[in-house]
């Protein structure tokens, strides 16, 4: 399995009144056409890692890496224009809240059409056909009707499925999903994740699933990276999560309440060194 994505020593730095701060400190990993989960709490740098890959981090943030290769292309060397061609067509990103990531004044149909037209030259009729097919692929039952709706007229779960449709219609090779289900109800989460999983497998895509939810990630990924304070503290296969080695991962797993909870007190992580 050749590496689709090869990241070595990725570092993201932001200036602050107290000097430069590294929010991602030397993260390295490789990704083939498989599903990778990046798990961490807030401030762990997981979202920043995802954005760094797509070169979405603007000044004053700075991104450096020894290697940042995507399918043989050196992402560090790409200009803005070249990145624009890559984004969407080859690497796509699904974000957390469709309320904020869909344009509220354009119909859903028009937005998905646009996502397609940006990267492929097709006749008008062709575009609409593909849009409808994509909406069906994300299990929206009445695609014709939905294309005429505006984002605020659909539920959160449906909005997220629209987002997925929009991001996958140009058939990228890699999908980065940053907390794709955090804003959704439990019952809808499973549906949306199943759809992502399905499409990723069908198209032979690579998936990076970023989340704070350990259980979710272990269910939908092949491998897991646990991040804390900008660093990767653990890397393991999804099925091996229960045998995690690093005290942070073990502590995190132990501190989550369970359905069959019997403990009178939950174990708590050691006071972190940056607590003020």
């Amino acid at each position: 399995m050749s590496a689709l994505l090869d990241i070595r020593n990725l570092r993201v730095t932001f200036p602050s009144p107290r000097g430069p701060v590294d929010v991602v400190k030397g993260v390295s990993f490789q990704l083939g056409r498989e599903r990778l989960g990046i798990v961490g709490e807030s401030g762990s740098g997981k979202s920043m890692t995802g954005r760094a890959i797509l070169k979405l981090i603007r000044k004053p943030g700075q991104v450096t890496a020894d290697r940042m290769d995507f399918d043989g292309i050196d992402l560090r060397a790409q200009t803005d224009r070249q990145m624009r061609d890559i984004r969407g067509a080859r690497i796509s990103m699904v974000m957390q809240d469709p309320k904020f990531s869909l344009n509220p004044v354009i119909t859903i149909g028009a937005q998905i059409d646009e996502a397609l037209i940006t990267h492929q030259k097709l006749a008008r009729g062709e575009v609409r056909k593909k849009t409808l097919a994509m909406l069906e692929a994300v299990r929206i039952n009445d695609p014709e009707r939905v294309t005429r709706l505006y984002p605020h007229e659909v539920s959160g779960g449906m909005g997220q499925r629209v987002m997925i449709a929009m991001m996958l219609i140009p058939e990228p090779d890699l999908l980065i999903a940053d907390e794709p289900t955090s804003a959704l109800d439990v019952s809808v989460q499973a549906q949306v994740l199943d759809i992502i999983d399905d499409l990723v497998r069908k198209n032979g895509m690579g998936l990076i699933l970023i989340s704070h939810d350990l259980n979710l990630v272990s269910a939908y990924c092949d491998r897991i990276l646990v991040m804390r304070g900008g660093e990767v503290v653990e890397e393991c296969a999804a099925g091996e999560l229960a045998n995690a080695q690093h005290p942070y991962t073990k502590g995190l797993l132990a501190s989550m309440p369970r359905i069959d909870e019997t403990r009178s007190e939950l174990p708590v992580l050691d006071r972190r060194s940056w607590a003020t």
Partner: protein, 248 residues
């Protein structure tokens, strides 16, 4: 006499009815959970009890005394609320000290406010050095501790908790859950907790009511939740989705 007794509660916002015929009885010292997805009306029930949602019919009584439709000054000493969003529930321009002494001043509590504030900081596990900080100088977990402290300043017997740990990181959630459990034990408090997170219910509560589309679908004990012995199919569905994802 129940701590909270609700019968045939219909709460509306304008023309839409949010809850239909809610019937609950919560005993003193009990920890009770209202579980459901968004739109189930669980938070609305909480607001009706507190007096933040005024359009309702039916009956709500707290320790035998019927509730009015609005906010009661006297009621404040019996029942307080902890909100979900630690970032929005503290006044951004008031120090922790000001936020905690405010209820004392409003209710005309005599005595040394400063001493009470410090005692409360100790009780919720916050170092005294946080006393004169502003909210933006505190982490999410610390803010939620302040919110809990604020709710307890007037020594209420009942706490209404609206998803108190949903907005917090996993590791911080455990600390806050432990804190809530300890405080309840120490002060013999009654909790009415709204959440969509079933494992939290298993840890913190004695009984739960599952709500859907504004109705109570099932009332069960926490032990039933732990063994998966829920009767209603919707409850079982929620349990299946929360307890683990398909592949684990």
């Amino acid at each position: 006499m129940s701590a909270i007794a609700i019968d045939n509660l219909d709460v509306s916002y304008g023309t839409s009815k949010i809850t239909h015929g809610i019937r609950l009885a919560i005993a003193e010292g009990e920890s009770f959970a209202l579980v459901g997805e968004s739109g189930s009306g669980k938070t609305t029930v909480l607001k009706a009890i507190a007096g933040l949602a005024r359009e309702w019919t039916g009956s709500i009584s707290v320790f035998g005394a019927p509730r009015s439709h609005g906010i009661d000054r006297g009621f404040a000493k019996h029942c307080q609320m902890v909100f979900q969003d630690p970032y929005g529930s503290l006044h951004p321009r008031k120090t922790v000290d000001a936020t905690l002494s405010e209820p004392l001043t409003i209710q005309g509590v005599t005595g040394d406010h400063g001493r009470r504030v410090e005692a409360m900081l100790d009780a919720v596990g916050l170092d005294r050095k946080f006393r004169f900080r502003f909210p933006h100088q505190l982490s999410g977990g610390q803010r939620q501790r302040v919110a809990i402290a604020r709710a307890l300043m007037l020594e209420p017997k009942i706490l209404l908790l609206d998803e108190p740990t949903s907005a917090l990181d996993v590791s911080v959630q455990a600390e806050i859950l432990n804190l809530l459990k300890r405080l309840r034990r120490e002060q013999n408090l009654t909790y009415l907790l709204v959440t969509h997170n079933l494992p939290v219910v298993s840890f913190l509560c004695d009984r739960l009511a599952v709500m859907r589309h504004g109705r109570v679908v099932e009332i069960a004990g926490a032990d039933q939740l732990k063994t998966g012995a829920l009767a209603d199919p919707y409850s079982r569905e929620l349990l299946a989705l929360s307890g683990g994802h398909p592949k684990t």
